[in-house]
C-alpha cells in the first residue's frame, strides 16, 4: 500500500537552516545537509528546502547547497523559493533536486507551471499555495502571505493541476503557526477535487493532528517545520503513533 508521507520543511537563508516568525527573530537551527540527513535517518519520507534569501549571492549559495544535499541524501527532496523562470528550475534540477516548488511566481505567471512541467515532467512541479479563509472563502496570498490576490484556493489549485502541477502543497494561513492542527476540512475538499496528491501544511502541533490530517483531511503527505526542528515530536515516535492508529507509513 502507498504510505502517507511525513515531510520536514527547512527554511534556508544564506546557506543555513533558519527558523523565525515572519522573517523576524530568525535563529540558526543547524547545517541544512546535516539536519536533512538526520531527518532521513529518522524516517522522514521527503524533505522540502525553501530558500528565503533575497540576494544574488544567497541564490548561488543555495544552488551549491542543493548539490551538497543531493550528494548526501538518499531520499527525495523538493526545493523552492525564487524560481521565476524555467532556467531557475533547470539549475536546481541539474544540481540534483527531485522537484521544485513554485508559489508567488506561478500566481503572477501561471504559464510557468506549463513550461516547467513541459520541460521536465509533471512530477517535477509542486505548486505551493498559501491561502487564508475569510468571509466564507479562501483567498490566495503571495509573497510569503503578505499580499492578497484575486485568486481563490480551489479554482487556482484546479488550474495548477490542469497546467501540469504534479502535487499541490497547501498552507492554511489561518492554521500556520497555531499548532492547533491542520485545515482538515479544506484539505478534504481539495483532495476530492484534485486527481494529484495534496501535501498539507500549517498547524501541526501534536501527533493527533497527523492522524486527523490523513484520516479526515485525506492528505497524501503532511509537512511541518518547527515541531521537528525543536524535536517536539521526534519522527520515529510520530511514525509509531501513526502505525498504532492504522495509518500506513513506512
Amino acid at each position: 500500500m502507498l504510505a502517507k508521507r511525513i515531510i520536514p520543511c527547512l527554511d534556508i537563508r544564506n546557506g543555513k537552516t533558519v527558523k523565525g516568525i515572519n522573517f523576524e527573530n530568525v535563529v540558526d537551527v543547524g547545517d541544512p545537509v546535516e539536519l536533512g540527513a538526520k531527518y532521513a535517518r529518522e524516517g522522514a519520507d521527503e524533505l522540502v528546502y525553501l530558500d528565503i534569501t533575497a540576494t544574488v549571492e544567497g541564490r548561488k549559495l543555495f544552488a551549491d547547497l542543493v548539490r551538497r544535499i543531493s550528494e548526501h541524501l538518499n531520499i527525495p527532496f523538493t526545493v523552492g523559493g525564487g524560481i521565476n523562470q524555467v532556467e531557475d528550475a533547470d539549475i536546481l534540477l541539474s544540481a540534483g533536486a527531485d522537484k521544485v516548488s513554485i508559489n508567488s511566481s506561478a500566481v503572477r505567471d501561471p504559464g510557468l507551471i506549463d513550461r516547467i512541467a513541459g520541460g521536465f515532467g509533471n512530477q517535477f512541479v509542486v505548486v505551493a499555495i498559501d491561502a487564508q479563509f475569510k468571509n466564507d472563502g479562501w483567498t490566495v496570498f503571495i509573497n510569503g502571505g503578505r499580499i492578497p490576490t484575486e485568486k481563490e484556493l480551489f479554482s487556482w489549485a484546479r488550474e495548477a493541476q490542469e497546467r501540469g502541477a504534479g502535487e499541490i502543497l497547501f498552507t492554511s494561513m489561518n492554521h500556520d503557526g497555531t499548532k492547533n492542527g491542520y485545515a482538515c476540512e479544506a484539505l478534504r475538499d481539495l483532495s476530492s477535487l484534485l486527481s494529484i496528491p495534496v501535501i498539507a501544511s500549517g498547524g501541526a502541533g501534536r501527533k493527533e493532528h497527523f492522524v486527523d490530517v490523513f484520516d479526515h483531511g485525506c492528505a497524501d503527505a503532511a509537512l511541518a517545520a518547527s515541531i521537528f526542528h525543536y524535536n517536539e515530536i521526534p519522527i520515529p515516535e510520530l511514525k509509531d503513533y501513526l502505525k498504532q492508529n492504522n495509518i500506513i507509513v513506512r
Binding site: M1, K4, I75, A95, G96, D98, F120, S195
Partner: protein, 193 residues
C-alpha cells in the same frame, strides 16, 4: 569496476551518480557508444516522457545499442518502461527487451503514483528475502503489468511490476537512488552481479 550511466535528455541523472558515489563507486555519465559497450555495468536512468525520450535515443542509435548490451544493465523508472515493447504514453514503440506493454494507471486513485510503496513480492538477483515488504520510492503515471519477467510486485489499484529481470537486463519502476537503505541494498546487489 567501470560503471556507465547513459546520458540523455532525462532529468536527474545526477542523483543516480551521487547514490553510486555513496556506495564507493565512481560512474561515468556518457553517451559515447564505446564507453557504454566497454563498461562492466550500465545504468539506464530516466525521468520524463516516453515518446520524446525514445525519439532522442533512436536518433542517436542508443536504443539498438542498449538492446545489444551483454553486461548487466539496470533501467530505472522511465528506463524500465522504455525497455518494454510499447508504451501507451503517446502510443510509443519502445526498445522491446521485455515483451510487455506499458499502460496508464486507470482512473481511481491519484496519479502520478507518488511516494513510498511496499515490495509485496520479490524474486531474482536484485532482491533477497529481507527486501520483501520494504518500502521504496515511486513517481510514475504509467506501469508495466505483472508478467513472466516480473522480479518484484507492488500494488496500486492493481498489482504491477515494480521490477523486471530477463537474462542480463534488470529494471526497477521505483528509484533505488532515492529509496533509503533498501534502495542502496538493491543498487549494491546490482553492482555485485
Amino acid at each position: 569496476m567501470k560503471v556507465a550511466i547513459i546520458k540523455y535528455n532525462a532529468g536527474n541523472i545526477r542523483s543516480v551518480d551521487h547514490a553510486l558515489k555513496r556506495l564507493g563507486v565512481t560512474a561515468e555519465i556518457t553517451d559515447d557508444p564505446d564507453a557504454i559497450v566497454s563498461a562492466d555495468k550500465v545504468i539506464f536512468p530516466g525521468v520524463g516522457e516516453a515518446a520524446t525520450t525514445m525519439s532522442y535515443l533512436h536518433d542517436r542509435g542508443l536504443d539498438r545499442l542498449i538492446e545489444g548490451l551483454s553486461q548487466p544493465v539496470l533501467g530505472i523508472c522511465l528506463g524500465q518502461q522504455l525497455m518494454c515493447s510499447w508504451s501507451e504514453e503517446r502510443d510509443t514503440k519502445c526498445i522491446g527487451i521485455f515483451d510487455q506493454p506499458v499502460r496508464r494507471f486507470p482512473q481511481g486513485l491519484k496519479v502520478p503514483h507518488m511516494g513510498w510503496n511496499s515490495l509485496d513480492l520479490v524474486r531474482g538477483k536484485l532482491f533477497d528475502e529481507t527486501l520483501k515488504g520494504a518500502y521504496v520510492y515511486f513517481v510514475h503515471s504509467y506501469y508495466v503489468p505483472v508478467g513472466e519477467d516480473t522480479a518484484a510486485e507492488t500494488g496500486y489499484m492493481i498489482p504491477f511490476s515494480a521490477a523486471l529481470q530477463k537474462e542480463n537486463f534488470f529494471a526497477t519502476q521505483f528509484h533505488p537512488e532515492k529509496s533509503g537503505s533498501p534502495g542502496e541494498k538493491i543498487l549494491s546487489n546490482f553492482l555485485q552481479l
